[in-house]
Amino acid sequence: MAQPGVSGSPAIVHRLRQKHRNPNADHKHPVNRAHYDDASRGARVADQVSAAIGSWPFIITQSVLLLVWAAINFWGLFVKRWDPYPFILLNLVLSFQATYAGPIVLLAGNRHAQKDRITLEHMADEADKGEEQINRILIEIKKNTDLTLRILKELEAESA
């Protein structure tokens, strides 16, 4: 492997690894700071809800509850059946879940779209800043070239 450049320098990778799975880390990028560290209460709750529902514990728990419900009401285990085959009440409960999951998915999507918008705005600012720096460098090099040309003229006049 070639030497890692700036992009993959060990120090940077180390810092990234520490923030990898921690959205509450102290962020460096202004957009991340605005989006996570300075999030409003509603935004924070939205993030927490989508993190909770979009997680393996939620999916596994839901699967177990679903199987238990179906098993009890199919074979009549332990207690009186409250929702016999074909499980119409279970259908209602799951529909209820899906009814809320949809808007929450959109909530998370909107959060993300907002972040994308801010990221682009920030990139435009950065591009302006970069252009200004490049212009300063260009002006400086032009100054340098002018001086070098004047030295050349001096030398030419001397040897003439």
Binding site: V13, G54, L94, K143, R150
Partner: protein, 160 residues
């Protein structure tokens, strides 16, 4: 950069280590749960899934409505099929959020990486500018030196 660092096959599978540190952390160092989450999102969001689901629905409805088939388990209006749809929707929501959370995690990590690299780049740009300014100052001194020499030479013959 090493040319053997091919990262994706034609089907998008990860074949070797990624070059970008964000991809390394996100894909190469994914936990089992994260890996399965990516696979699940890729599996459900594919034409294969849609096609197989459609075929199963057609088979289910056909067997339970056409008289030719004798073993029926879910007569019109297909209440159990309704439950199946609901179960699918009840799991798609969380998987959607799971996948969205993964993407948000990557986005967060990418911005942090951008900020790290931008910091280094800005420092380098300022160093370049300072170096050119030093060069300009040195060149200016050379010019002044030459001018002084010319002045003293043109003054010398006049005095003699």
């Amino acid at each position: 950069m090493a040319t053997d660092a091919k990262v994706t096959t034609a089907r998008g599978r990860v074949a070797a280590k990624h070059k970008h540190p964000v991809n390394q952390l996100f894909h190469d160092e994914a936990t089992l749960g994260e890996h399965v989450a990516d696979q699940a999102a890729a599996g459900i969001g594919s034409w294969w899934f849609l096609i197989i689901q459609s075929i199963l629905i057609v088979i289910w409805v056909t067997i339970n409505s056409v008289e030719f088939f004798t073993h029926k388990w879910d007569l019109y209006p297909f209440i159990l099929l309704n439950l199946m749809f609901t179960i699918q929707a009840a799991f798609t929501g969380p998987v959607l959020l799971l996948s969205g959370n993964r993407q948000a995690q990557k986005d967060r990590l990418r911005l942090e990486h951008t900020a790290e690299v931008a910091e280094v780049a800005e420092k380098a740009t300022l160093e370049i500018l300072e170096e050119i300014e030093r060069n300009t100052a040195a060149t200016l001194k050379v010019l002044e030196h030459l001018q002084k020499r010319r002045d003293s030479r043109s003054a010398a013959p006049a005095q003699s």
